[in-house]
Symmetry: C2
């Protein structure tokens, strides 16, 4: 396993691999790896001949009052985990090398990014699209892997790849959960034991939504109101949004039909958690 | 010479060429080719093993009151010219294939694009950056060629390539001029004979600026005022801007020193012409 923060060096490695005709799989991460990331890495290992993982906490996707500074940094541990997975290269550039002085070019998706998390996190998805564009241009993967927990992000990346003709295939893999149902997230490390238990209510609410819909409820407002109570049972939870949207364009639906997404963002203390479930009716 | 409007087909051709280890040169154009374009094509032919030219009149870089509809379309002639140059592939996609329904992703340079032509043409350089990103992703050239007549565009593309890590080298080639000094432009076809003669005053003004500076003038305001009179001699000329800026960051200079750009945009009737000259002191 090669580790490098150097853009020129990783380009050289990749150019060499590409020349040999190998298929390159890529998993972009911000480190603080958990089993969700590892499921992506394993898929990349299985489906490709060469597996690159980036670890880069991207400042441009954090808002000024968000957790960029305290975002968990566990590089040593990440490194060990990835070594065990026998990946080929870890690319871990510095902020200064990724954003040179007078950086002024951004990639922005302007439709899917306007709803759900985009409402409370202006600029977040622009930061994501910009850094993913950079990473795609550096690594030039054949397949890139994203997790469904960030459903909106995955949809936006897919749209970006389509719109800008990136020669990359995007694969989105299922959410990995704790036994309690809590979706794995690097931000879970912010939670104390009690909040962690309480946060499992998010998945209970999502499962309830699915059950209500499967049982015939077609009114999104009624579903949302019912599942809200699951969350409100927890004293310290603060709902940012609970939405039922078209799984394709992310817009609110009046009537539940086709493939829909139930998505929510909930604060437990200062920790903002997101989760979602796709339901087909 | 292969001609195709098909993105998948051109990708296949390029993938094959790339596999063979050939260096790919690329000249993006909007057609209506003139000797300026051909100078780029010849450089690409000389420096690369494979030469691709795109012909695509990109709607997203035209403002609502600009000349998208009447922009000269001379595809048959362009094709013949390029055949003579022995280029390898003409890629001429349709608007519908380049901008699929629900297109929503844009690339924007936010500093260099705010001045000069960017002031009167909001969204123009966003359209340029977006389509060039798409073309780079489709063609994946080693070297792409741009003309210095669009100096600001070339600077923005270079910045974009740096910021977003495109694996492309950008080469900017000198302005090609008529005997009169008028810079070649597809839009020159809009000019009648008299306006065409009058438009040569643009280059006279630029040469005068260079002479004044070489003779020791260091005050940009005085240079601009003097060369304006060259243009104002023409009854039907309307100056949009005449600027003396830092050739690197495109910002106004208080005192002429280092490498500066004298740039202007002038209307002759409804025809907007741009031109520039770089002066080193």
């Amino acid at each position: 396993m090669i580790m490098t923060p150097n853009i020129i060096k990783v380009r050289k490695i990749i150019a060499h691999v590409r020349k040999s005709g190998k298929k390159i799989g890529f998993v972009p991460t911000m480190g603080a790896l958990h089993s969700g990331h590892l499921s992506l890495v394993r898929a990349a290992k299985k489906e490709c001949d060469f597996c690159a993982v980036s670890i880069f906490i991207n400042p441009t996707q954090f808002g000024p009052r968000e957790d960029y500074r305290k975002y968990p940094r566990t590089f040593k541990r990440d490194q060990q985990l990835l070594k065990k997975e026998k990946i080929d290269v870890i690319f871990h550039p510095s902020v200064n090398n990724m954003y040179l002085s007078r950086f002024s070019t951004y990639v922005e998706e302007k439709y899917l990014s306007r709803v759900l998390c985009g409402k409370s996190r202006p600029g977040h998805f622009m930061g994501v699209c910009t850094v993913v564009t950079k990473l795609f241009n550096i690594i030039q993967p054949d397949i890139a892997y994203f997790g469904q927990k960030d459903y909106q992000q995955a949809q936006i990346i897919k749209r970006m790849v389509r719109d800008l003709n990136f020669p990359v295939e995007i694969k989105v893999l299922p959410i990995i959960r704790e036994k309690s149902g809590l979706a794995l997230s690097s931000r879970n490390t912010y939670l104390d034991n009690q909040k962690r238990t309480e946060a499992a209510s998010i998945y209970s609410a999502l499962r309830l939504a699915k059950k209500l819909i499967k049982d015939g409820e077609r009114n999104p407002r009624r579903v949302i109101n019912k599942i809200k109570s699951c969350i409100f049972l927890q004293r310290r939870a603060k709902v940012e949004y609970i939405k039922i949207v078209n799984a394709d364009n992310l817009r609110d639906v009046r009537k539940i039909k086709g493939t829909i997404l139930v998505a929510m963002a909930v604060y437990f203390g200062k920790t903002r958690l997101i989760d979602n479930i796709v339901v087909r009716v």
